[in-house]
């Protein structure tokens, strides 16, 4: 395939992915808006008003970046895992596998589907958050870079999960038992400074800590961890995940007999 044909294949795959989640927007976009509104009301307003300040900001201001990032992580992951597993389950993935589309186009097509959903949900959730608090962006470049890198990373993780999943149960195990607990323990609702030293150090082994804090730094200018190190962690994980996804596609593991 020449470059133009690859471009057509890529845009076809991305638009297919976008059409898929827009077609079922009540399952893909609406739940995040409702869930985050509840978080804002309960943690930000009702409980937050009694907590006072955290990291030098009101509690509402403190939790908003973490909650936005939580929505991005969940949605970019869910989009790829459900779409690719669905294609595998219905065998429609064969449409792609028998075509001359190079593996990296297949992967980037799914990644961009996940990234676009993550970004769209981020816009929705951010808009909802403006009903509860005002948001001043401290560093737009960092915000854009963190959001992009994070959604790419979790889209890749979703892809790996989809390749290995045998049933629809398998695609909900990781989000339920791994992603959600790590996000909650990743400093969305609290600053690591509040934890005893031992638990603060344990928390630093959680990759979500770097994701949440890097984004919070871009929005508020405060972070529990070094921002450069955070970028290195997110970027490093993304490179490893990308390499592994390409390996899975190249070898056809769990995709070809």
């Amino acid at each position: 395939m020449n470059a133009y044909e690859q471009y057509i294949a890529f845009t076809t795959l991305v638009s297919k992915e976008i059409r898929r989640y827009l077609r079922i927007w009540t399952q893909t976009l609406l739940p995040s808006a409702i869930t985050m509104s509840l978080y804002y009301v309960i943690f930000g307003n009702l409980i937050g008003s009694r907590i006072g300040e955290m990291g030098g900001r009101s509690y509402m201001e403190f939790v908003v970046p973490g909650l936005i990032m939580m929505a991005i992580v969940t949605n970019s992951y869910s989009n790829v895992v459900s779409s690719f597993f669905g294609a595998k389950f219905s065998n429609s993935v064969e449409e792609l596998l028998v075509s001359p589309v190079p593996n990296y186009i297949i992967l980037w097509g799914y990644i961009m589907g996940g990234v676009s959903r993550g970004l769209l949900v981020a816009i929705i959730v951010t808009t909802v958050s403006l009903l509860f608090t005002s948001l001043d962006i401290y560093h737009l470049g960092i915000v854009v870079a963190v959001v992009t890198l994070t959604s790419i990373l979790f889209a890749l993780c979703g892809f790996i999960n989809a390749v290995f999943a045998n049933s629809f149960d398998d695609i909900s195990i990781v989000p339920t038992f791994v992603l959600t607990p790590l996000t909650y323990l990743g400093g969305v609702f609290y600053s690591l400074d509040l934890l005893p030293e031992f638990w603060a150090n344990v928390s630093r082994a959680n990759p979500l800590v770097y994701v949440v804090n890097a984004f919070r730094y871009g929005v508020l200018g405060v972070s529990d961890v070094n921002i450069g190190f955070s970028f290195a962690m997110i970027g490093g994980f993304a490179v490893i995940a990308y390499w592994y996804c390409m390996y899975l596609l190249r070898t056809g593991k769990r995709l070809r007999s």
Binding site: I8, N91, E94, V98, S99
Partner: protein, 305 residues
């Protein structure tokens, strides 16, 4: 001329140790309408899987229009259109979207993709269903949708894995006409089927695959010539006598108005008619008792055993 498909020494051993293909060799010339026959589990679908890249081969060489799949699989795939046995499209999508997307995966610009989609949906009688979710289509319509999808990038080699399974007779015939048409226009077609009369009606040459090996590869006419015996059912004017014998022929009374006659290779059917006529039996019509190709198929497998 470069063959449309050339397979040499193809081997496939699955992880559980099962050898599905044992050094299979096959060559299909350009412009052929070729049948690949074999019992269930013979290796037909595995062969198609290897050609289409859904199954990784253990050894051997596959060339599609001279392009080695090991050296340039994307290049080889451009020549290939595959209609698999199982439905493998997203049933929640509309036929027009399925076709346009598939064209996109082959790098075909949207305007051309839309044109071709309209053309093939019309040709295969799906125009009215172009915006209906695929899950709402009948089994026959789904099969035709898969054929349209396989043709959207104008492949030079079309491989159909049991394309008429579950399709009613009327629709099957219109599908035959359509396939003959695209074959006449230059597309090489390889067909696997369990309806052996289908292969007889459509294909000039055929190969029989059994236990992962090609056991026969010649023209259908040639193979039928090898048949030693054929059975005919004769519908006769009633009443028939209690016992019927015709010298040199094995004849049996099936019911009050039907006689079964076995004709061995070299025997003259007219002699059998003569013998019956002498006994006052008038034959009104005649038909094959069993599909000739089926008999041939069984005899080839028996010979191999």
């Amino acid at each position: 001329m470069i063959p449309a498909l050339s397979i040499t020494g193809l081997e496939k051993t699955y992880d559980n140790g099962f050898r599905a293909l044992k050094g299979l060799n096959l060559e299909v010339a350009q412009g052929e309408f070729f049948a690949l026959l074999g019992p269930n589990g013979a290796g037909k679908s595995t062969t198609i899987g290897v050609i289409s890249s859904l199954v990784a081969k253990s050894a051997g060489k596959v060339l599609v229009h001279g392009v080695d799949i090991d050296e340039d699989f994307p290049g080889a795939k451009k020549y290939l259109g595959i209609v698999p046995q199982e439905f493998n499209f997203n049933v929640f999508e509309k036929p027009e979207d399925i076709l346009v997307q598939q064209a996109g995966f082959y790098g075909i610009p949207l305007s051309i993709a839309r044109e071709r989609t309209k053309h093939f949906l019309g040709q295969l009688g799906l125009a009215e269903k172009s915006s209906t979710p695929a899950r709402m289509l009948s089994g026959g319509m789904k099969r035709r949708l898969m054929i349209a999808r396989a043709l959207i990038h104008a492949p030079k080699l079309l491989i159909l894995d049991e394309p008429t399974a579950g399709v009613d007779i009327e629709m099957r015939r219109s599908m035959y006409d359509f396939l003959r048409e695209i074959n006449a226009a230059g597309t090489t077609i390889i067909l696997t089927t369990h309806y052996l009369e289908e292969a007889e009606a459509l294909c000039r040459n055929m190969a029989i695959i059994n236990h992962g090996e090609i056991v026969a590869n010649t023209s259908i006419r040639e193979l039928l010539r090898d048949l030693n015996k054929e059975s005919f059912l004769l519908d006769c004017q009633v009443p028939l006598p209690g016992t019927i014998t015709v010298e040199g022929f094995h004849v049996a009374k099936v019911d009050e108005h039907t006689i079964e006659v076995h004709i061995e290779k070299g025997q003259d059917l007219v002699q059998a008619f003569e013998g019956l006529k002498q006994q006052g039996i008038k034959v009104l019509s005649m038909r094959n008792q069993a599909n000739r190709l089926e008999q041939m198929f069984v005899s080839v497998l028996e010979r191999q055993a």
